[in-house]
Symmetry: C2
Subunit: 362 residues, 2 copies
């Protein structure tokens, strides 16, 4: 029997609620496979800061270090609440970015996927969704502006200024390109390379390295898109995309636009993969306004479990079953509160009901 | 009689075609008002580079310097074509950015507007468009990554790298905030401040200065949005926005997403305003693939004329007439090729036909 340790960082806001549903799913998978999941809960984010003064405390680091994979809920506070914490201690700078840096999780996979049968959730017209949206954004996750040097000061004119750097070297670009090309090879052999080479010199290097790496994948067709044009195209013709690769900040913005075209960020799970460790998280925030109400959509968190099953535990079939179960629940005419308004022809279900129904289907 | 000099930079690709229609409109306005528009055509962009070796040649600079306003068409080459020109001579780096820098056009206004009656053009469902989308993005246009220091080299590991800087000082932020707050005061008194303060220190300063400036406009309600959340919200609920303010790169991406939710970048005019000079341009590129076919949508270019009438020549009423005429043509059931497929219940018209019909309505 395989034994896997999973660090479970439920996070802030809606984190604990949606994590509870993800754990239900893990239990089912465990029961019917020759596998044991040892769950190691730990504090991470604002909850950790309030308990220990540190958003990513040493105890949590220790647990993550020894875990085979990390399941991480959303973290963060509301705009107003976060002002009460020193900037560098805030959950994003104090926990999330250090996690990404520590495990060097440079490859972030964000599926943006909506089968035709669930087109009613999308703000886009059915004819735009066509046979369904099914793309994956591959986002570089440990470089660029996120991890650049940051300098704040007062200039000669007595003005406060901030200067921060966006930096990439060829090796950082090369390794994410290989991830993207490999994924494209397994899928439609189509890679959209997102850049801003008409302004950014980092994009000029990005494109150079992309072209070098492309030689190793002659069967993959590359289409170059300026990031701004990609933002237009994601609304107008999302079905043209299959695998998209982009630097850190572009990936942040476009992937959230991805949640927008699906109908909710609640449909956005993700995998953050480094050389030795991977963690899995919803792409969205902790939604403090709806926390504790049992109305959050656990799809993104359960989907992150599916990505963990496939990537960390080599259980691709069970991952497929999880996706199918979740889409099946929605396909049966149910909806969580983020995706539909009551009275729009669907039956509204709670966070827990969604989890229960997924478990039933599995 | 007022006499205004207008530098006319038709640009590349579809630029000349849509500029011709914009000029038709200017002629009508001239005929029925006590005003003379002296049109000063000049080369700008790739066409200028091929003719003179310089994308923004001195002759064009001279014309722009003496003009009361500049009407600028889209510029640029296809991805493949642009590789044939040295990076720093390419139309964007060689002409567009120098123009913005020269005239310090820090305030870029990009209306994203679609009345309910034209909801059929949008990829969004009619219920998402509701009573219509009517927002303006206020984009800082001469700071940030666009104008930062750019360094390319080889690091100690022998790896090529690029480092570029994103810099803002408080004065740069303050002046764009005043523009945004003033605009909000004239409209719905609602300002969405777009930032990424959980990662970027420049956004921390951005928000600080925003809060300072906000004190001068107590009647304006400020809503803070992370840029990624704004990208989601623009798809899910665009009607919540009225005035949005953001730094340069965010404005580039979100405004093109704006074109996406309207149905085409062809609906995106803009005004770029500096202390002493303003220029007006569509937000989109030169679309080399459809150049010369008489199918481009001149709305963005004629809309830029409307913005010029209002901002540079104090002719707000005529500007309104131009908007109404353009929307009237579409409202009569016509469409350009970017907005609809033939056979979708609209009558397809060419670039020139659109211009002619606008002139008829005026
Ligand atoms: C919370 C924030 C720092 C984070 C990011 O910007 O990467 C989030 O938006 C995401 O996309 O995972
Ligand atoms: C052409 C390009 C440099 C420009 C920009 O990025 O500003 C364009 O996309 C725009 O939005 O005006």
């Amino acid at each position: 029997m395989k034994n896997y340790k999973i660090a479970v960082l439920a996070g802030d806001g809606i984190g604990p609620e949606i994590t509870a549903e993800a754990i239900k799913v893990l239990k089912v998978i465990e029961e019917r496979n020759d596998v044991k999941f040892e769950l190691l809960p730990a504090l991470f984010g604002a909850c950790a800061y309030f308990a220990t003064g540190d958003a990513f405390p040493q105890a949590t680091i220790d647990i993550c270090d020894q875990a085979d994979a990390i399941l991480k809920g959303p973290i963060g506070l509301s705009h107003e609440e976060s002002k009460k914490i020193p900037v560098e201690k805030q959950p994003e700078r104090g926990a999330l970015l250090p996690m990404r840096r520590r495990y060097n999780t440079y490859a972030n996979f964000r599926p943006v996927s909506l089968p035709k049968s669930l087109a009613h959730f999308s703000p886009l017209k059915p004819e735009v969704i066509g046979e369904g949206i099914d793309l994956i954004m591959v986002r570089e996750l440990v470089g660029g502006l996120y991890f650049g040097n940051k300098e704040r000061g007062v200039n000669e004119q007595g003005q406060r200024y901030v200067r921060e750097t966006l930096e990439y070297d060829e090796e950082q670009i090369r390794r994410i390109m290989h991830e993207a090309f490999k994924l494209a090879q397994k899928r439609r052999k189509l890679l959209h390379n997102i850049h801003k080479s008409n302004v950014l010199m980092s994009s000029v290097l990005w494109n150079e390295v992309m072209e070098e790496v492309a030689k190793d994948y002659p069967d993959v067709q590359v289409v170059n898109y300026l990031v701004d044009a990609a933002a237009t195209a994601l609304c107008l013709k999302p079905t043209q995309f299959d695998v998209m690769v982009m630097e850190n900040m572009f990936g942040d913005i476009l992937s959230d636009q991805g949640g927008g075209i699906l109908g909710s960020l609640g449909l956005m799970p993700s995998a953050c993969i480094g050389p030795d460790k991977a963690y899995y998280e919803p792409s969205h925030g902790s939604a403090p306004d709806i926390a504790g109400k049992n109305i959050a959509n656990p799809y993104s968190m359960i989907g992150s479990v599916a990505m963990m099953l496939e990537n960390s535990f080599d259980m691709a079939d069970e991952a497929k079953n999880v996706w199918a179960a979740m889409q099946g629940v929605f396909g049966d005419g149910y909806s969580t509160a983020d995706l539909s308004k009551p009275g729009s022809g669907v039956t509204m279900i709670s966070t827990q009901e969604f989890g229960d129904k997924v478990v039933e289907k599995l």
